[in-house]
Assembly symmetry: D2
Homo-oligomer: 359 residues x 4
């Protein structure tokens, strides 16, 4: 089931960009868990476009309405459904996309799969707007994981060629992650904010867009979460992270750089830290054989430049079978990397909480 | 279920490195499909260590025995179970790994997860040997996909810093893929074979190991396979590929390089090719919105250097809680990249065939 | 996942009796299917208490609101979520059930499972009210099956000792089923309506309740739907039907009576009917080896007497650990059999449509 | 996946009656569980035809061979695969069933589903022989449940019109169940053995067959296992029990008889039994709202008369489209009820153990 994720904590995301509402139905939440709706709403606010000049001009309150599953702020053992009404819809903007697919979007492939019955308005079910319900599911998991001492946060590692520093894979701390979660521009080195923002504004003016890389860390994980083979932490995280539009790659620990290391370099020696076993280095990124080692979990995901750009682009008329020049209207982000940061955290949280419930 | 993969074509891999047998149970094979067991055995031979000086000295015939699911060479609609007996086992080699975990292996994390009850001999269920049953499942899918005009093959993109050329993402051809499948050292530029082999032999002599990158392509895919969100082609392939030991990252199309491109560069213009819609470039790697576009599917996976190295390494005694120097015995590959090539093909085939059945 | 059903047509029911809303999220609806919301609403009306003196006094409009998945009356390939707002809630009625469980209800077992965090108001997620979203899922399937020539309807076989005649397992016709679907008291022999109604009114006056048996038939099924072993038509129908509160047994074809037949009697001879293969009798109830034979599908389900009765009953105080006399307040049906008829049809439709998609 | 069952304890049954081997692959067994293979083999012996004159003349040693998942008699956290080789096969007996389907068997429906590619020899994957691997999975669960104080056993409630007494739904004891498990003819009232056996022998002589009813009980279940709606104990048990060939109906607790009771009779009053909550009567059969109440679980399943009878029967030639008289050869049970008793226990054990793991 393609819009569903998870084995024990299992959710289905529903809705289309310009439909009545978007939302999520979650099964598998243990009964009696406290969920702070204020914090959940605040988490979603990190994803919202806000008033940032670097983001889309579509404004949505994204107010979470819980239909079921909570009684007096606690889970009751039944499925939880949360919805967000779509208020600021402009379906007229998108009417001719059924015939002339936007490059870099799912218009053409959806047309081929769904035979023209897909909802094209605003990208329909493929819209980045559907990451809001993912953030509801993930925001709940973040709270539940935090109650178990696990903290997750991400930062922008790069936008185009502007680079933040990376997490220290051994020393990344809960405090550092809490600071990232608390809002503001999500970078480790505050100095790069201005440069990144400027790069986005420049490209916006040119009617173009930028991509980047997001790095995510989780600390406080005990050793032993995750499963062998296809139930490994990497498998679970990769499966959900590629569900975020625009993600093109993911790597764990040292990642692609491991290809040029030797075993003697890449292997992380085990050492005693008092009574606790840890590794001296953390090239493995906190996962060995699909199972957490107790070291910080580190992964990176790459975000392609927003396909919606203001420039004229080459496409085709599917009905006529001829070339056609397309100008994408609508309201778009010149770079979605900043807004994707909490979405990556949400995805990681869902995967980890599910792995925990399966352990 | 961690050792299982797939939604409609669903299989479970069983066995441990030094147990009685390893194998796979497959559900969801449509009835009446012809499976050529000779070709399947030949496909597995590409994964076997053979007599290559660059591979492990453990020799296994890896003879496939079909227990069920086939009648006169055709699937009968019931589950197919295939087994490979383990003949060349040396369980004595591994007895003290329960106490002193090997760096870079799953020994420690398995111990934490399974409380000491895991099979440690040869890595047990975590062993790279378990990729043989994955190749059975995948080899079957390769045949079934080929019957539908879909061809998949992979090559070594790099070993350490020695690089093959990449696939032409637009022009990669069935013939090129068939040549890779036919055996021999899997590179596009034959000149790099010697250099790669030499690099492996050098590192072997030093008691060390190397990693690399594998690039995989599929051609002949129609547009419209795969699903939105978590059922996308990338999600499915990533979920299975991270089930192969030593994989640390995966990227589709332009992958991580997309992070430094602009939308106007990265977007692939749609063009008419006679009656057919295609894209002029293929930065998207054949998948948009999780759904195939009809262009070649291209992905890359990184393989870490083999963690089993001949050198003394730093570890701990879990029982004593003290540091301990470990020397890994047993028979190992100084670089598993060449043998991992058909495994990547098998994984991709399983994911694509399952996506096809779900379409 | 306990509130979910189905493999390819998969839905999750959410909501509690006195929460904000109840509803269903459905995945796996093929794109482009026409759904008539007026007919769907009319189908739900058959389940609603209406103004019948034999049903609960709780009145709910049960207006279906589609949040996603439909565009211009057709499925768009994305999940469909439908909700019904709870308007006529009286949560005050149920406040002490957490301590003093009602006999025959899930109060005690839910307390033991969910540790007191379950929603007790009106039975929470265990309420019979949750069959309304099941009727949404099933009502959609009924329409989609009808488009394929498959018709399903059920009737009251008995209430207490008052008996309707049974379907003719060979000759049951589409017309007969359409008549049952069209509303009115669902019996084959119209003469029994008065007697059944009177039996219910009598028991209501006595503060007691009645059970009964519902018989369901499907015609127009081709041979070949369903799967061996655990995916058989009986397995699927039984799994969903026991999800309806108060169901205590199910039987297919001749059912329990088969235990006293001989093979020579029970076996249904195959005969040619023109070009078509059928069976002369239909003791097998349309399913052999879990797979439809093309003969009418026939099953029966038993409904226990409503556990909510007006009489004082013996229970315990869980906190005090002492006996306690309980009087159940609230609004209840003295016999839910009539209202359960469309729910049985809905359940059968979901199971059959899912089996069709799996075929 | 039709030959698979379970959510957390999940297994797939493979094999055909006259193929190389039959077996089962199990995922989800917690690591470190002790499994006594001798007892498992003894459990299977209860299902084997043995030398009973009432059973088939096909003799199979049914020796269980464990391929994976066990190390020194304990589960190791990896999938467990067990196989039984088919030794006494006679594929020649069945060659013309592809054209002339046996009444009461799956020959015709399998033909329609699998287009003639199904394995027809001995019923292929539909054969009752496939209940042997189900008994392996269930025999393991019986041991694991017993380690938690849960005991399950079944008896023949009736064969044709010969009746054993029923379990006392309140007082059924562990000792009674252990006695049934220990072998011998599985009845509560030893006096009926002779009459039942004689009934079978009589019908055998007439070339005919008999059916019956099996009643199963589980004691020692804590309150709180099972889940609401479709994950209820009844749903799980029904789903697996209908996977046993010849089962036509199932009922829990008072079952179909509940239809003629009043609420005031059927409701089981809660009472204190020292510190423990129980019910005074047990019409609910140990399950309320899908969740165990702590009272004995009681269910009954009906077994149709064996469809393979020695008499000539009416069938058709599928190729010619004409009537044809069929004489079923091969070796068959004139009544499978006695051999089905441990299979029912196995099925119940799998469902309950899975429900436990999900709790």
């Amino acid at each position: 089931m393609s819009s569903s994720f998870g084995e024990r904590f299992r959710f289905t995301i529903f809705g289309q960009s310009h439909g009545a509402a978007i939302g999520v139905t979650i099964e598998g939440l243990p009964a009696g868990q406290t969920i702070d709706l204020g914090r959940l709403q605040a988490f979603l606010a990190r994803r919202a476009p806000g008033n940032s000049p670097t983001a889309t001009q579509r404004k949505e309150a994204d107010e979470i309405k819980i239909l079921s599953g909570l009684v007096n702020g606690r889970t009751c053992g039944a499925p939880l459904t949360a919805v967000i009404e779509n208020t600021n819809t402009r379906s007229g903007d998108y009417s001719d996309l059924r015939d002339c697919p936007r490059p870099g979007h799912a218009d053409y492939t959806a047309q081929m799969k769904f035979g023209g019955f897909q909802d094209v308005a605003g990208g329909g079910h493929f819209s980045g707007r559907l990451t809001a319900p993912l953030c509801i599911a993930g925001g709940i998991c973040l709270q539940l994981l935090e109650q178990r001492g696990v903290f997750i946060a991400a930062h922008i590692e790069s936008i185009a060629s502007v680079r933040d520093r990376r997490f220290d894979p051994v020393g990344v701390s809960r405090e550092e992650l809490l600071r990232l979660q608390s809002g503001g521009f999500p970078v480790l080195n505050a100095d790069v904010e201005k440069e990144m923002t400027q790069a986005i504004l420049n490209v916006k003016q040119e009617g173009d867009s930028l991509g980047g890389v997001i790095e995510c860390a989780a600390v406080g994980l005990p050793a032993g979460w995750g499963d062998p083979m296809f139930g490994g932490i990497e498998n679970r995280i990769a499966q959900i992270v590629f569900g975020i539009p625009a993600i093109r790659g993911i790597e764990f620990g040292t990642g692609f750089a491991a290809a040029e290391m030797r075993g003697s370099e890449h292997n992380d020696a085990f050492v005693m830290d008092g009574e606790k076993v840890r590794t001296g280095t953390n090239h493995h990124g906190g996962v060995l054989g699909g199972i957490t080692s107790g070291m910080p979990l580190i992964f990176r995901a790459t975000v392609k430049p927003t396909p919606s750009i203001a420039r004229a682009q080459q496409s085709v008329s599917l009905s006529a079978g001829t070339a056609k020049t397309l100008e994408v209207r609508g309201r778009h982000d010149p770079c979605i990397v900043p807004r994707a940061v909490p979405v990556i955290e949400a995805a990681a949280a869902c995967a980890l909480y599910d792995a925990f419930l399966c352990s």
